[in-house]
Amino acid sequence: MTGEYYVCTGCALLCDDIEVETEDRKLSKVHAACLKGVARMKGCSDPLECTVDGEKADIDSAITKAAAILRNAKNPLIFGHGNSSSEAQKISIGLAKKTGAYIDDTSSFCQGPIVEAILQDKLRTCTLDDVRHKADVIIFWGADPSNSHPRHLSRYSYFPRGKERQRGWEEDRTAITIDIRKSSTAKICRDTRFYQIPMSADAEFMDAIVSGLSGKIPKTSFDFDKKRILELANVMKKAKFGVICVGLGLVYSLEELEPLFKLMEKLNEVSNFYLIPMVGQYNMRGFNQNLFAETGFINRVKFNSETGNANHGAENSVVEALKNKSVDAALIIGSDPLSSLPLSVARYLTEIPLITIDPCQNLTATRSTVTIPCALGGVEAGGTAVRMDGVEIELKKIVESDNLSDKEILTRIMEAI
């Protein structure tokens, strides 16, 4: 062991207590990281090759070709960013501005609305360290961190001892799961602390909790046990430091955030509650913050190539832009839209010139005109990233790599345009 701590980039928890053993420019052993983090940090089993038109090429010609594609495109799309360092994201935003591109990331069909509300100060948030030291009531709503963020419960939210929570989870903390199915996290929270609700009933359940908090009888159309809702409202009311961890289940279920705002407002009238989005990719929140600082919007932006003004709207999201076929080239950084988006939407990507920058081979890369391998963020390249709660974390380089970092690749593409 090196005795030095590194940061895991497996998810947006960015655990910074990872020790590693290295051998021949690869990580041979990773200590303390979960299986998800180990899989990412040990690198890809199938690395991406540098290609142009399906033929092996050197990095210079790949960059020249990529720059030519972006230069000739009227409305290119730049998508990905969740697995890039903040520095690379900033250059990517500059590149979008220069080429008049659509720029978006996975938050546009993920935690976007919640992060936006937090950045606009519409929702009260705290850091994960606050959660560890102070939180006594933790609610996982539509989230299953035991699978999505394996170390969430052990590092911050439930099991650890903190400054004001010295007696551990059994006496000092109450974890509650609200979900449509009995997830792994729900099993840990036990049956009495698990609230199973029907699909898309989250808004109604929130209203019922608000009624419970206001001393009214909570009614639901799906006839949920009123006593249990009152019991939940009571636990929330008595919380000294409550936190709601918002998962994708809740984001997808809510058509608008109004019920959540109402719940948080009521909770903060009678109690003390905060909210943290369960961001997936390690630097998705970083992209949201960087774009917000630059344009005032967190995602779904189209730059005007002449004036450099940013237009924001649902029509500029990656899904709508591809559906309307309004893009004529695409640059994908550290993402695999052909796998993650519905094929009916993503299929259009195969009809236009496509550039992929990624450490590993993926489906999108197999259909790309240009593929450029980059160094693995947090392992082969350093930088900064923003954790799910908005705290900036410094990533250190662990091993050397022949590949350039995504930041360097984007800088060179920018220079070549």
Partner: protein
């Protein structure tokens, strides 16, 4: 894992004493405690009528290999390395309050659980509260495991 009665039901129940134990129930108890092997029961191995039961028992005990001397088993294929047991284990908390007890990577060599390559590894098992003179039935690591990867036999 099956309980002793379920194991007993799968044995011949003849109390033939060929295994050296007084009764089949005694054999079942020892089998559960990993003191004897399924193959130590001669009628079960040799007689055709017990074949189905023999195979069921082999399946039950065949997959369990690395049992520590105190009977703690970590099923590597189930563990996801979440570290819940590392942080919840009272011995880990007592021995390493600012590392494992506070949710961080263990900083002491005295901890029982430690995550390596995404899978929890048990060490210093003699420190476990389930063993020794003042043993108690602690279930901190079992209860907090989301995949039920830890077991005591």
């Amino acid at each position: 894992m099956a309980n002793v009665m379920e194991i007993y039901q799968l044995l011949p129940k003849t109390n033939c004493k060929e295994c050296g134990k007084t009764t089949c129930m005694a054999f079942a108890v020892d089998l559960l405690g990993r003191k004897v092997k399924v193959d130590d029961c001669p009628p079960l191995v040799n007689e055709a009528k017990y074949k189905a039961n023999y195979e069921t028992l082999l399946e039950m005990f065949g997959s369990v290999k690395d049992v520590t001397e105190t009977g703690l088993i970590v099923h590597n294929e189930k563990c996801i390395g979440c570290g819940n047991c590392v942080v919840a284990c009272p011995v880990n908390v007592a021995n390493d309050p600012f590392g494992a007890g506070s949710g961080k990577a263990p900083t002491s060599d005295k901890v029982i659980f430690k995550v390596e390559d995404g899978v929890v590894k048990a060490r210093n098992v003699q420190e476990c509260r389930r063993f020794g003179e003042n043993k108690i039935l602690c279930v901190a690591c079992i209860d907090t495991c989301p995949t039920k990867a830890i077991e005591f036999v």
